[in-house]
Amino acid sequence: MREERPKRLEGEIEVRGALGLHARPAARLARALGPLKARVLIGRGENLVDARSILDVLTLGARAGTRLRVVAEGEEAEAALETIRRILEAEA
């Protein structure tokens, strides 16, 4: 077997912004993830949604303090995970 399997990373991230993961951070997330070569899912347990979809991210209803599971798959999975962490852990 060759090393052709895409990279798959997982992490847990806490939503820190006072208003939770609301529309604007969700938009920031969508924009920042846009160009990255990775499929990114976010959610709780097995209930994961596309992190690039504001709509689906909003349906998580994640308030401040919520811990979310993140799965990133693809060439730039690391960068994607880092990006999510940066945005969700921002205090604003």
Binding site: A23, R24, A26, D50, L55, L58, G61, A64
Partner: protein
């Protein structure tokens, strides 16, 4: 002719036909399409989405740089339009052989269910944004990008999402009137930033107004006239000219002091609900904030706001207004608003129930958090604290002692604050007036909240249409109460402010000057006119007239005497504003 009154949240006046948006009315037809039409239909949807996103971007670019708040809202809306899930799910339904409009509606209904099950109100409300956006895309699909826009009209709705406001083409919108909402709702923010007059919280407006009715709307006073008589229309033309004249002169007026012709100086400050309003307060020349309300931080969420959030909000306002002072009112809400987080019982008579300072003293944890945030913000400028609904000395001292405790707590933690922070009492309850002399010994200042003071003094709920007419700021009892309060304060050497609606109404200004109020705090948009009027007045003359008014028996006499004394000056003043 019928009159309604809401809360004026964006200055300016308008007269025009009503365009009524009834809630939840997206109408689309279901059409079957053949397999070979499917790809074309998806392409049609993709194009409509692109067009809609482009329109939002266009509006975004039209907004001035300083409107970061609204730009950010629109940015989020645009991303929502281009959301990959929206397109993917709608495309799947199209592939089952349905038209794009129907597909969008199906997707909308699915998300409606998902959102309605979310526990947090903020997230549930985001469904409204999606709904607005889907309406825009559907309009674009129909080849009519401005489906709902009519010729210039006053838009009447239950509430408006930012998407609605974009959809409604600002240049054709004369004014917004919504049944729901507050100074902090999207409609208010967007309307102010686009310079469109707006009245929110206009109870009953959807019932009273039919499409096509002529409306006269004043975004400063919150008045709405339905099918107004000729004189009202003429008066509105005058108001409109006055408003534009004033606006053009704002930069000359803003720095002028509010001083009468014979040298009596008053401080004019702004009432503020949101940090986002700071630019308006400054533009209109506010010498600080006389009433900073932050109740929206408590009602827009399920849990109580954390200290950091409160602190950041206060600090932002305090820094922006420095060196002018900012008077922060502690929480003024009823227990009903906290039913979820505090598990409080339902009340039969909430106006006389567990609210404001009573609630804060009962739920000390909540109060301490807010006081810590206020004290911490006091290190960044000039801050004053005031307690709402104080009814006597014991209550005031309990609250004041808590402030002292928290000062010690912060000092021992090494956190900076202003040790000299003034602590004042709001005078809104008749019993506080009766003991004003005693309170004046303990408080550093008074601030008269006229809306509640009048309501409690006359035992009239202004929201109740049956008795609203009896609500009368010029009632002899109200005038006497204001005088008693001012006298007690001045004898003790402390200043008195007024922060109710009465302070911002031109008619009452000579009375308040004559009653020797030291500070008036009002909606930012009322400031320039009130200030210019004060500069036309003579303090001595105001005092003489007030002495005469205080001898009168009933409110009708007071009104008449006031009109006689200041009517000519007022109309001269109004004329000068638009002929100069």
């Amino acid at each position: 002719m019928k009159t309604l009154r809401g809360v004026g949240v964006s200055a300016g006046v308008a007269v025009g036909p009503a365009h009524v948006i009834f809630p939840g009315h997206i109408k689309v037809t279901r059409t079957r399409i053949s397999p070979e039409e499917i790809e074309g239909e998806i392409e049609r949807l993709t194009r409509a989405i692109r067009t809609t996103a482009r329109e939002i971007r266009k509006l975004q670019e039209k907004l001035p740089e300083n409107l970061g708040e609204v730009r950010a809202i629109l940015e989020a809306q645009r991303f929502l339009v281009e959301d990959p899930s929206l397109l993917r799910e709608a495309s799947e339904i199209i592939r089952q052989g349905f038209n794009a409009e129907w597909a969008l509606l199906k997707v909308l209904r699915r998300y409606e269910k998902v959102f309605s099950e979310l526990p947090d109100e903020y997230f549930r409300e985001r469904f409204r944004d999606l709904e607005g956006i889907v309406e825009m895309i559907i309009a674009s699909l129909r080849g009519d990008a401005r489906l709902r826009t009519v010729e210039k009209a006053v838009i009447v709705a239950r509430d408006l999402s930012p998407a609605d406001t974009v959809n409604l083409k600002p240049e054709n919108t004369l004014a917004f009137v919504t049944e729901a909402g507050s100074r902090t709702s999207h409609t208010a923010i967007v309307a102010r930033s686009l310079g469109i007059p707006a009245v929110v919280a206009a109870k009953g407006v959807l019932e009273e107004v039919s499409p096509g009715d002529l409306l006269a709307v004043d975004g400063t006073t919150g008045e709405i006239f339905i099918n107004p008589e000729k004189e009202i229309i003429r008066e509105f033309e005058e108001r409109n000219r006055r408003f534009h004249k004033l606006k053009a002169r704002l930069h000359q007026v803003a720095h002028l002091p509010a001083v009468t012709r014979d040298g009596r100086r008053l401080s004019l400050r702004a009432n503020l609900d949101l940090p986002e309003e700071i630019p308006y307060a400054r533009e209109y020349g506010a010498e600080g904030i006389g009433l900073l309300r932050t109740e929206y931080l408590y009602v827009s969420r399920k849990e109580l706001p954390p200290e950091e959030l409160l602190f950041e909000t206060y600090r932002q306002v305090v820094e922006a207004m420095a060196p002018h002072p900012v008077t922060i009112r502690t929480l003024d809400l009823g227990g009903d608003k906290f039913a979820s987080s505090l598990a409080l019982p339902e009340e039969i008579n909430p106006a006389l129930g567990l609210r404001a300072i009573r609630l804060c003293l009962r739920e000390e944890g909540l109060f301490r958090t807010q006081l810590r945030a206020i004290l911490r913000a006091s290190a960044y400028g000039k801050v004053k604290i005031m307690f709402p609904m104080i009814s006597g000395v014991t209550e005031f001292l309990r609250a004041r002692n808590l402030v002292e405790e928290i000062k010690q707590e912060l000092a021992s933690e090494g956190v900076a604050f202003d040790p000299e922070i003034p602590v004042g009492a709001m005078i809104e309850v008749p019993s506080a007036v009766a003991v004003a002399d005693l309170l004046a010994r303990e408080a550093d200042f008074f601030s008269i909240g006229t809306n509640d003071l009048i309501q409690y003094t006359l035992a009239i709920d202004r929201g109740n249409q049956e008795v609203a007419e009896l609500y009368e700021p010029l009632h002899p009892a109200v005038l006497r109460f204001i005088r008693t309060t001012v006298e007690a304060a001045h004898r003790a050497g402390i200043p008195v402010a007024m922060c109710g609606e009465m302070a911002g109404e031109l008619l009452y200004v000579p009375v308040l000057v004559g009653l020797e109020l030291d500070e008036l705090s009002m909606n930012p948009q009322s400031l320039p006119e009130v200030k210019l009027f004060i500069r036309e007045l003579s303090f001595q003359r105001c005092q003489e007239v007030v002495a005469q008014l205080l001898r009168l028996t009933c409110q009708d006499e007071v009104r008449e005497a006031l009109a006689e004394a200041f009517g000519p000056l007022m109309s001269r003043f109004s004329r000068s504003l638009w002929f100069e």
